[in-house]
Symmetry: C2
């Protein structure tokens, strides 16, 4: 039974993900994670050196799948650039209507651990958001938009804002409002493409 070790670790991360996402980091004990994974706490501590380490692994496992989903929604959408970005918000709204939805795991974790600035989990969250921003910036740069970084950050702000607002109000329609705002900002940036900045 010993040898492999990788499936066990993966099972622990899976159990931790479900519990941490649904209940919150500090609400969930290491014992609960171990029980859900079907093993003892001592075994868990063989694979992870601390609870903080486990929390970091939980977020690290969410990084790539999450980004892939956003890219998929963007790629599959019909229409031009604004429509493709808006599709991300529309799909997100659909996810948010599921009763088990509880916002963005990265944001919620960094909100809960805000008193530990250098925590590995917060770094992983920041890196995740940065990857998303970088992908948007590159996409906008390809379309010869004047200030692709600024526009990417504006979209990111709307996205994370919709995570926060929808979590509070439990009203997913805010995500469609955010999508509309994103469309307006993109169209404005496109219109300014060649022109000098006014003001």
């Amino acid at each position: 039974m010993p040898r492999p070790s990788e499936p066990t670790r993966a099972r622990i991360v899976q159990a931790a993900s479900a519990l941490f996402y649904n209940e919150g980091i500090r609400r969930v004990s290491v014992d609960e994670v171990a029980a859900k994974a079907g093993l003892t706490k001592r075994t868990l501590y063989y694979h992870f050196k601390s609870k903080d380490d486990l929390v970091a692994a939980y977020l690290a496992a969410r990084d790539q799948p999450n980004l892939a989903l956003f890219r998929k929604w963007f790629a599959e959408a019909e229409g031009g650039l604004p429509a493709k970005v808006e599709a991300i918000f529309r799909n997100l709204a659909r996810s948010a209507r599921h009763p088990k939805w509880k916002g963005c795991g990265f944001l919620r974790t960094s909100a809960e651990l805000a008193n530990m600035p250098g925590h590995p989990a917060i770094r992983i969250g920041a890196a995740h958001k940065k990857k998303f921003e970088d992908w948007l910036r590159a996409t906008f740069a390809e379309q010869r938009i004047a200030d692709p970084l600024k526009l990417a950050r504006q979209i990111l702000l709307l996205l994370d804002g919709s995570f926060a607002v929808v979590l509070l109000h439990r009203d997913a329609s805010y995500m469609e409002t955010a999508g509309e705002a994103a469309r307006t900002l993109i169209e404005t940036a496109v219109a300014t493409k060649g022109r000098k900045r006014r003001d």
Copy 2:
């Protein structure tokens, strides 16, 4: 010494505010709050029936001062509507650069308690955001903007987005980016004032 009871209660809320905001709800014990307020836990439980009750009081105490601050920043700013809204973001960025700043207490609390949907603290947070949205909507309506509710919600999304992003990245310049985005959205809405919706 007994009689008054109100200053005692206020002192408890003050102690709770500092601790809950800086360390997080579940991180802070009722004993710690009592110690910081200079009394025993048993006395605290005379004034509040549970920890949840105390958490709710912590947020309720933040509601009016927070809104007043936003209104003050708006009112004192020079210039037109976009400049006045942008001033809110600029002032917020200034606050966020203080090292003790840890985001929006309402958002962080509801992120931490996301597993308890009906929690009084979450309701207070939602009501707070709604009041801000209502104030913006009324302000925009006075200026004869076409869809004041939609614009108010877009600004709210940018505001809460900047709380989230700046908490993660510890880079307050995102708030100025959010302010710029708000300006763009307002100017677009103003330009659409009388006109029919295109599309």
